[in-house]
């Protein structure tokens, strides 16, 4: 759903920084922890003290390669490089990252709707410390001093760089959501945007529909939620269109997303930003993954969300796009089991999507299948099914027994027919109006029957009986 005027389309690429779920930092044995007292997880190495040296964390490398495999990347030998620039929250005034030889290249992420977005690279690098700007009413440009906490400095990151292949804010959100699901499924990261363990920068440009040019892009930073991501992209793309339509054009720059103001503002550019003087870090020997390592990582990979959606679609006969919620809720195995036990796929998915937002609890596939059977046969009303489902989630059991224990006796239609005939006899005027086409009184009859049966009647069957009586 593009929010741009006709004739324009967005070109979006995302750079997602993911903090790896290791115990220690990338190059030193300090704790990788969020929310500790400032400057309590620091050592000579992550403080960049003279004489200190880095030694890579084996688990971080393993996680990075796991993610690479999960993204379908070419996972290969890699070389750590130094990216040289000055900033006070970067203790060595260079960042150790990967440049010419990243661990992972050329992968992809398949969105819920089947769109495939290319991943250019997913490389390992170290995080920076955290700066707090004092004074200036929180406005960075008027700060009177900056305070630095190095607890985060050296925390292992993988930067996942997409190709500029997304065309709407919704697609960008779907990409991030998919990446998060993959990270959680593999255990590589806890992927919490609100704690900053997953941080998204968006490169946004626009172009006329049908063109394949790449116009000047702006990089949006400070996007702290999925909601911000969508708003920021839509705002920025619109800004570009407005500039082009007024005969101007945007400047390539980094921009800061202001969530409260709902707008992006230009970042103050670094004068030396264009010359990072990358070179291979002489303190760190290259990483050359062995065949055994690669096999172990592949063997340890869980089935990933896209494959699970496809499996669910294949098993239930629904479209893969309809399987998104079920997989996200981790209920795909349950749904498949229910279908294997004989339940129709569309009804199963309906329950998973509508009634199981808090998970399945004690409910299993065969239970769900049996319940759906009672529903489809008309033995239980929709309301009753929902109630029984709630009980099965809470405590499990046999659906028929649970229904019975709740007094949901399956009422056959002859009983209902008797009740209805009595009601018609007692309310001839209302029945007359119904036969003349006044559908408003239909509710009166159904309501009365529900009252008489304490809700056990199936409304659909009552409607059917009334239709038969009036036409017969």
């Amino acid at each position: 759903m593009s929010e741009l005027p006709d004739g324009w389309e967005m070109v979006i690429g995302l750079e997602v920084h993911v903090e790896l779920a290791t115990q220690t930092k990338l190059f030193c044995p300090c704790a990788n922890a969020f929310g500790d007292e400032p400057n309590t997880n620091i050592c000579p190495t992550c403080l960049g003290l003279p004489g200190s040296l880095p030694v890579p964390n084996a688990q971080a490398i393993d996680y990075a390669m796991t993610l690479g495999h999960a993204l379908g990347c070419t996972v290969a030998g890699s070389v750590f490089a130094r990216k040289n620039y000055f900033y006070p929250d970067m203790p060595k005034d260079y960042q150790t990252t990967q440049y010419e030889h990243p661990t992972n290249e050329n992968g992809s992420i398949t969105l819920g709707d089947g769109t495939v977005i290319g991943v250019e690279r997913a490389h390992i690098e170290e995080d920076t410390g955290k700066s707090t700007h004092l004074g200036g009413g929180g406005r960075i440009h008027d700060a009177t001093a900056t305070l630095v906490d190095y607890n985060r400095a050296g925390v292992p990151l993988v930067e996942v760089v997409s190709r500029p292949e997304m065309r709407s804010a919704d697609q960008a959100r779907a990409y991030v959501s998919e990446l998060r699901d993959i990270l959680l499924a593999t255990g590589v990261s806890d992927a919490r945007m609100e704690e900053g363990s997953m941080r998204v920068d968006a490169n946004v440009s626009v172009r006329p529909v049908g063109s394949d040019e790449l116009r000047t892009r702006c990089e949006l930073k400070n996007i702290n939620s999925m909601r911000s991501l969508g708003r920021a992209i839509n705002y920025e793309a619109r800004r570009h269109v407005d500039l082009y339509e007024s005969g101007q054009s945007p400047n390539q720059q980094t921009r800061h997303w202001d969530e409260d103001g709902g707008r992006s503002t230009p970042g103050r550019s670094k004068e030396d930003a264009d010359d990072y003087r990358y070179f291979a870090c002489p303190d760190l020997p290259p990483l050359v993954p062995t065949d055994e390592e690669m096999q172990a990582i592949r063997a340890g990979l869980p089935v990933l969300p896209a494959a699970r959606r496809q499996a669910l679609a294949d098993a239930t006969g629904i479209e893969a796009g309809q399987a998104v919620l079920a997989v996200e809720r981790g209920l795909d195995a349950l749904a498949i089991a229910a279908v294997r036990a004989g339940a129709p796929g569309d009804v199963v998915i309906k329950h998973v999507d509508q009634n199981l937002s808090d998970g399945a609890g004690q409910l299993d596939g065969p239970m769900l299948a049996k319940l759906v059977g009672l529903e489809v046969s008309g033995a239980l009303s929709a309301t009753q099914v929902k109630t029984v489902l709630g009980e099965l989630v809470a405590s499990g059991g046999d659906p028929a027994d649970v229904a019975a224990s709740m007094g949901f006796e399956a009422m056959d239609s002859s009983e209902l027919a008797t009740l209805l005939d009595q009601l018609i006899a007692d309310n001839p005027d209302e029945w007359q109006r119904f036969t003349e086409g006044d559908t408003k009184v239909q509710g009166f009859f159904v309501g009365q029957i529900m009252k008489a049966t304490q809700g056990k009647a199936d409304g659909k069957i009552v409607n059917q009986l009334m239709k038969e009586r009036s036409s017969g």
Binding site: L49, V55, F86
Partner: protein, 492 residues
């Protein structure tokens, strides 16, 4: 030697046997420093308290019948670019004046675990950039053989401390010759190990792919003992060699009979003083007398070493020295914003030579120049390594002068290029990571010490000590005659 002091091995033997206490060994060293370091200026800081505590610990161990270690009671000086917990570590730079590291370098921990007494920190060219120890923010060190001459550099303080008899052992670091060249100029033994044989953890980086710590000693055997103590794998240094390093002490006495030794042609020609060349030829004859086959060998790419080095070392340095920004430690000169503070701090904190190399390295790495300079220089390293490999297919060891000349006068080499030429013989080993040993061998026409350099392939460290001992035994200079008195006037 001008010092009548005991060797490290003799000192340790006496302390271990109880003939002498570590406290006495320390007192002798301190007395020598007190008597003469005002002239030599080898030390920047003395660590009396730390040394005294360690001496007490060693003496207590001896008293209790425990093993106090192979360097028990041996006073040792540490170049001031290696971290010593709680003691100043300045790199001879105003930038780090007053800074006390919160941790010890691995080599310092290993020496103390072996019973050595760290007596102080020695002067160097700022951040180890130089060949004369004149580029120290705290003033030059003087050559103990002639106080008007430089001791060489950058580890000039550590070389002078051994030559002056202040300590039997000291540590230096060698990036392009910074141990071997001052060893040659001061008439002591200096050793640059195979890259990765000694941990760099706690060595303040100059050029990370070239830096290596090694010992100065008055004898080859003392240097071997020190190397065996500080060497070996360290999990804190990812470039540390994981396999065992062959023991140097075990190779002592092996001689050179049957060894094939090549004199590098390219390092015996133009630019090498005649008297130095003559000593190298004399040393070659001594090795031949001891049973080696000695021939000339050509390693043409060594002539490109200097040019490659003066791109690679500054490039790495420009990145390694970025962290001195006034934020976390060391000196700060304030500014209205952090960029200005960084620049003011660095401008005031670094001397000209450091600035020169930072700028050169920044340039060599910058976009548009990387391939022509840094990229090309890294390929020259491979070229030199290939040619050395070729040479080592016919020879066990190679040899050359250590320095093109004997010690020169303070202030004699004021333009950077002439000073850079001092490293022409030593740089190739650093570029390829090979070990090399400088052994004193006679004197030049000026009566000052000459050093002969022995080179070996990767992990051939032990072989160098066997050959070095042969040269030591054949040294034509009467060890007690040369430099027995200090010449020259001390300028105020």
């Amino acid at each position: 030697m001008m010092n009548a002091q005991l060797t490290a091995i003799e000192t340790a033997a006496r302390v271990r046997s109880g003939d002498m206490t570590a406290v006495e060994a320390l007192a002798q060293s301190q007395a020598a420093v007190t008597a003469r370091d005002a002239d030599v200026r080898a030390f920047l800081h003395l660590t009396d308290d730390r040394a005294a505590e360690q001496a007490d610990r060693v003496d207590a161990q001896v008293a209790q019948g425990q093993d106090p270690g192979p360097l028990a009671g041996v006073p040792i000086a540490i170049k001031d670019n290696m971290c010593t917990r709680g003691a100043p570590t300045t790199c001879s730079s105003k930038m780090l004046e007053g800074w006390k590291p919160p941790y010890d370098a691995t080599v310092v921990s290993r020496l103390e675990a072996a019973g050595a007494l760290v007596v102080g920190k020695t002067n160097l060219d700022e951040f180890a950039m130089g060949s004369s120890t004149e580029n120290s923010a705290f003033g030059p060190t003087r050559n103990p053989h002639d106080l008007t001459r430089v001791p060489g550099g950058s580890s000039g303080g550590s070389a002078a401390a051994v030559a002056a008899g202040f300590v039997p052992l000291s540590l230096g670091s060698d990036t392009g010759g910074s141990i071997r060249q001052p060893a040659a100029l001061c008439g002591v033994v200096g050793f640059k190990p195979t890259y990765g044989a000694v941990s760099r953890y706690g060595l303040i980086a100059f050029a990370s792919s070239l830096d290596q710590i090694g010992p100065f000693a008055s004898t080859v055997a003392d240097a071997a003992l020190c190397f065996d103590t500080i060497g070996g794998h360290d999990p804190r240094d990812a470039t540390s060699i994981p396999s065992a390093i062959p023991s140097a002490a075990a190779a002592l006495g092996n001689g050179v009979a049957g060894k094939r030794i090549g004199i590098i042609d390219e390092l015996m020609g133009e630019g090498i003083d005649d008297d130095v060349r003559a000593r190298v030829e004399q040393a070659a004859a001594a090795l031949a007398d001891a049973g080696a086959t000695v021939e000339r060998v050509s390693v043409p790419a060594t002539i490109y070493g200097l040019a490659a080095y003066y791109l690679i070392a500054p490039a790495e340095a420009s990145s390694n020295l970025a962290r001195y920004d006034g934020v976390r430690y060391g000196q700060r000169v304030d500014g209205v914003n952090v960029e200005e503070m960084n620049a003011a701090t660095r401008t005031a904190g670094f001397g000209d030579e450091v600035k020169r190399r930072i700028m050169l390295g920044t340039y060599a790495l910058s976009s548009g120049y990387y391939d022509a300079y840094y990229g090309k220089a890294q390929r020259v390293r491979t070229l030199i390594a290939n040619e050395f490999a070729q040479a080592y297919s016919s020879f066990d060891l190679l040899m050359s002068p250590t320095s093109p000349s004997t010690a020169f006068e303070l202030g004699a080499k004021s333009d950077p290029m002439s000073l850079y030429m001092c490293d022409v013989c030593t740089i190739p080993s650093n570029l390829v990571g090979h070990p090399a040993l400088s052994v004193p061998f006679g004197v030049g026409d000026d009566g000052l010490p000459v050093g002969v350099q022995l080179l070996a392939p990767l992990l051939g460290d032990d072989e160098l000590f066997a050959a070095g001992q042969v040269l030591e035994d054949a040294n034509p200079t009467d060890a007690t005659a040369s430099g027995s008195e200090i010449r020259g006037e001390v300028r105020p």
